[in-house]
């Protein structure tokens, strides 16, 4: 695949005129998807997809085209040459782009991690272990490739095999627990342990439902539940541009008017290597960008385009300026004694379908979903009815935060819209007082 990308890159670069710069972004995926319902296969198949984004820059103007490729040179050559001619003709029609920017220094890199995954073998193990349960979920397994090249001579490559099995176990009353196993190489012992944990939780969720009424409760938000709130925060909260135009839920914090608790520190941390470090215009992203430090808004993610628009220095964020690998620092609550620490309250393993109820004030709403329990005197009593919450981020991470746990969890994004995601987050759990349930 890498040689093919180099070959078509050469084809296009050799066809350029002297006044032209070309930037190429290559995406490929070879994925087996197995979808399960009731511990049987619902749909299974293989998807092979390759695409190339071509960005032609000429005399201060730019025009982009994204193409699907066959990876058969004769067919693709015709398409690529036609597209280059089209871009060359049409780019002249457009006005100059005042925020045009691309990396002019050469920073090449190459990462290949080939594990040789076998999805049918994994699927057999999944079907074997789940046969006595009502399991529903998805296995995604295979290769993800990201490549970059420009006509100035930079070349970057990030190719890795990985899998992500995301599943739920249901009881006869429709109550469910959720679990996930994602890695680069399948480890049967790890999978057996994780599956056993979800089966163990299922036995508790089958206890009598504890009916919760609207009101304020002391809650434990698991890393997964807290991550849902952080996802909402990332809808502009860390974007420089969104803070400038006011669509950021944290714009008051960025202006210095609001703060989180001192125990809260967020960063964009790419050191786990899950996301490529090269930007789509060739810039190399820093390993770590401090976003919120000890409760104070520190820095936004700034794309090169925003940097030009607002005359500031960028930190190689993509145009969407939201984290791809966010990390929340740990706190002091012992993760292994979380029930004891919670005492009496609600253990929230999973939140669902969040949105803003007052974006200016960082207020979000959403619902409880998988594995949410009522806890009394440090003991899990039983599952709760589905409840809606409505709470501000300033309360959750500020005045109502009792503390963060001393262990984090690496959460791999399960999203497969258009292509498999390479985003992740590293998050501890949190205990929050007076968490508001409204319906």
């Amino acid at each position: 695949m890498q040689n093919y990308f180099k070959k078509i890159s050469d084809l296009l670069f050799n066809a350029l005129e002297s006044s032209e710069i070309l930037i190429l972004n290559f995406d490929a995926e070879e994925t087996d998807f197995v979808r399960y319902n009731k511990s049987k296969i619902r749909q299974a198949g293989r998807v092979h997809q390759v695409s190339l984004d071509i960005n032609l820059i000429k005399k201060g103007k730019t025009l982009r085209s994204s193409l699907r490729l066959s990876t058969e040179y004769k067919k693709d050559k015709t398409l690529l040459v036609r597209t280059l001619f089209f871009l060359r003709r049409e780019v002249n029609e457009l006005p100059k782009d005042p925020y045009l920017i691309y990396e002019k220094n050469i920073n090449s890199s190459n990462l290949i991690d080939d594990q040789g995954l076998n999805a049918q073998d994994m699927s057999s193990r999944i079907l074997d272990i789940s046969s006595s349960h009502d399991m529903v979920g998805i296995l995604s397994s295979g290769k993800i490739v990201k490549g970059f090249a420009n006509s100035l001579g930079q070349f970057n490559w990030h190719e890795s095999d990985s899998f992500n099995f995301d599943w739920s176990l249901y009881d006869d009353n429709g109550k469910a627990v959720k679990q996930n196993y994602a890695d680069r190489k399948w480890n049967q012992d790890t999978f057996t342990r994780l599956y056993a944990e979800s089966a163990q939780q299922l036995s508790v969720i089958s206890n009598d439902e504890q009916k919760v009424e609207p009101g304020s409760y002391r809650v434990y938000l698991s890393p997964s539940a807290l991550n849902e709130i952080i996802d909402m925060m990332s809808w502009g909260g860390f974007s420089y541009k969104a803070n400038k135009i006011g669509s950021s839920p944290l714009h008051l914090m960025a202006k210095g008017d609001r703060e989180f608790d001192k125990s809260v520190s967020f960063s964009e941390d790419l050191s786990n290597g899950i996301s490529p470090k090269f930007h789509s215009d060739g810039f190399i992203k820093p390993n770590n960008t401090e976003l919120i430090t000890e409760g104070k808004y520190q820095k936004s993610l700034i794309s090169p385009r925003s940097a030009l628009e607002y005359s500031v220095k960028h930190n190689a964020a993509e145009d969407y300026e939201s984290p791809v690998s966010i990390k929340l620092e740990t706190g002091k609550i012992n993760s292994k004694k979380i029930l004891e620490t919670l005492g009496t309250g609600i253990y929230l393993n999973n939140l669902w379908y969040l949105n803003f109820s007052d974006r200016n004030n960082a207020r979000v709403t959403g619902l409880t979903r998988f594995g949410c329990f009522y806890v009394k005197d440090g003991e899990l009593i039983g599952p709760i009815n589905t409840m809606r919450f409505d709470e501000t981020m300033y309360n959750i991470f500020g005045t109502k935060l009792a503390g963060l746990t001393n262990e984090q969890q690496l959460l791999m994004d399960t999203s497969t819209y258009e292509q498999r995601s390479v985003h992740s987050s590293t998050i501890p759990g949190a205990v929050v007082e007076d968490f508001r349930l409204t319906l």
């Binding site: 319902n37 997809q49 390759v50 025009l63 066959s70 714009h251 200016n360 207020r363 809606r388 497969t416």
Partner: protein, 477 residues
């Protein structure tokens, strides 16, 4: 593609119980001008195929962007491999004798083709709209854009079906924000819901420039408006909010694959069960909802779904009674229920699943004036900006960009940060008046997410304004 493609592919069809090949070619072009600067224009050309094999108790698919003969052969091999592996491991194996041979086509009516208007003219037009949006000093953010998509599908199978459909749609968008005392309010052009199957001529019909001026006036007033007060009150919901209400609390809960449990790990299930069809009182007597692929220019109008089933208009809810789920031919067999042609895939690289097509709320008899006049105290809400609902599609909460208070049968002041919440099963029974054709709009959404692997698809919703009683309305902080 076209006949050449069919002639190349047909001899490759394997000797199995049933096999279909779906070729999809997509083109999209997005032009945006934000804060009076034309953003980098994006053009996307995408093509690929999906091979689906049912054989000897197994099912598998193979999808590839390699549409050469060797690529298609490889995709067939993957589909055969997965169908062999999944033999006797499937949730359900359909009765293949129920699949009918189909031959036909569908093409969006385009009076003026997208390509006939130059990129420069489109960019200049959007800059002009930007100037109208930035017509007040307190406007802090503004932008306008047009997205054009064409999706061409060719479907053939081992029982001699041959279907060709080409859908083109246009999505015009505008956004404008105003700041007042560090608080920002935003108005959009219908929450980005004014999408239609149409040619570029659609842009001429919607007067974007005039709408831009209206939105700009609106948002400045809104930024200085009072917060919506908490109240249990009457509410009239405008079409550009009604579509979300229909989408989330009628469309999704009636999807048969959710009822059958396929979506329980992701998009969720439903409070609706199979026993409720034919008897359950979903809403008041004035609630009539159709699956209607025949409405001219609506987003999901077509003649066939992506499994090759012929599409027809059907009532889902009539006079408030739940009649039929949104389930395609295969799901309907699993459930032993009626079907609609709703088995849809977002692209060649995802398998078809049960999806909304055009889900429409049929108009009633009241004008907007008549509905407002009947209210002593209430609120008129417009344009969705927030949506949230539980995994069984029961407890919902929606936010709207703008509210206009109603007092003694007349509109009074506007309010900001309007939210309302409720429970689906009660909400639709509180529907007391349905607007007539004068309040009716054909709208849609281009980004309905569902499925594992995930899929985003466009769906249509046409609806009048509707009047509900006893709704829990509240505002911001």
């Amino acid at each position: 593609m076209k006949e050449d493609f069919v002639n190349i592919v047909r001899p490759l069809l394997p000797n199995v119980d049933y096999c279909s090949i779906r070729f999809v070619s997509r083109y999209s072009n997005i032009i945006n001008a934000t804060r009076s600067v034309v953003e980098p224009v994006s053009i996307c050309e995408d093509e690929g195929i999906m091979v689906t094999v049912f054989n000897d108790g197994g099912f598998g698919y193979g999808a590839t962007s390699n549409t050469t003969k060797s690529g298609i052969k490889a995709a067939i091999d993957f589909a055969l491999s997965w169908s062999g592996y999944s033999k006797n491991k499937l949730t359900y194996y359909p009765d293949l004798s129920k699949i009918k041979t189909q031959n036909g086509s569908f093409f969006t009516k385009e009076n003026e083709q997208w390509s006939k208007v130059s990129m420069k003219d489109k960019a200049d037009f959007l800059l002009e709209v930007n100037r109208a949006l930035k017509s007040k000093p307190s406007i802090s953010n503004w932008g306008a854009g047009i997205r054009h998509n064409t999706i061409e599908t060719q479907f053939i199978d081992t029982i001699d079906s041959n279907i060709r459909q080409k859908l083109s749609y246009i999505l015009p968008q505008m956004i404008v924000s105003a700041e007042y005392k560090k608080e920002i309010q935003t108005r959009t052009y219908g929450g980005h819901a004014h999408a239609r199957q149409a040619g570029y001529d659609f842009i001429d019909t919607i007067a974007m420039h005039d709408k831009a001026l209206e939105l700009s006036e609106d948002v400045v007033e809104l930024s200085r408006a009072k917060n919506c007060e908490n109240n249990i009150t009457d509410i009239i919901i405008a079409p550009d909010q009604m579509i979300l209400q229909i989408h989330e609390s009628i469309g999704h809960p009636l999807e048969l694959d959710r009822i059958l449990g396929d979506e329980r790990n992701y998009a969720g299930s439903s409070f609706v069960n199979q026993e409720m069809f034919g008897r359950y009182k979903y809403g008041s007597d004035c609630l009539n909802v159709t699956f209607d692929p025949s409405v001219s220019s609506e987003l999901a109008s077509c003649n066939y779904d992506d499994d090759g089933t012929e599409a027809k208009r059907e009532y889902l809810i009539k006079d408030g009674i739940l009649l039929r789920p949104i389930g395609g031919l295969f799901s309907s067999q699993r459930a032993e229920m009626d079907y609609v042609a709703c088995s849809r895939a977002c692209n060649w690289n995802r398998p078809p699943i049960d999806r909304m097509g055009n889900i429409n709320l049929e108009p009633g008899k009241s004008s907007l004036n008549e509905m407002v006049s009947s209210i002593s105290e209430g609120i008129y809400v417009e344009t969705n900006n927030s949506w949230s609902i539980d995994d069984k599609r029961n407890k919902f909460q929606f936010g709207c960009e703008k509210g206009t208070m109603i007092k003694d049968g007349k509109f009074t002041n506007i309010v900001k940060n309007v939210n309302y919440r409720g429970i689906t099963e009660k909400f639709w029974n509180n529907l007391i008046n349905v607007g007539d054709k004068s309040t009716y709009e054909i709208l849609g959404t281009s980004n309905c997410g569902k499925g594992e692997p995930n899929q985003t698809i466009f769906v249509g919703h046409a609806t009048p304004a509707c009047h509900f009683k006893e709704i829990d309305v509240f505002g911001g902080i």
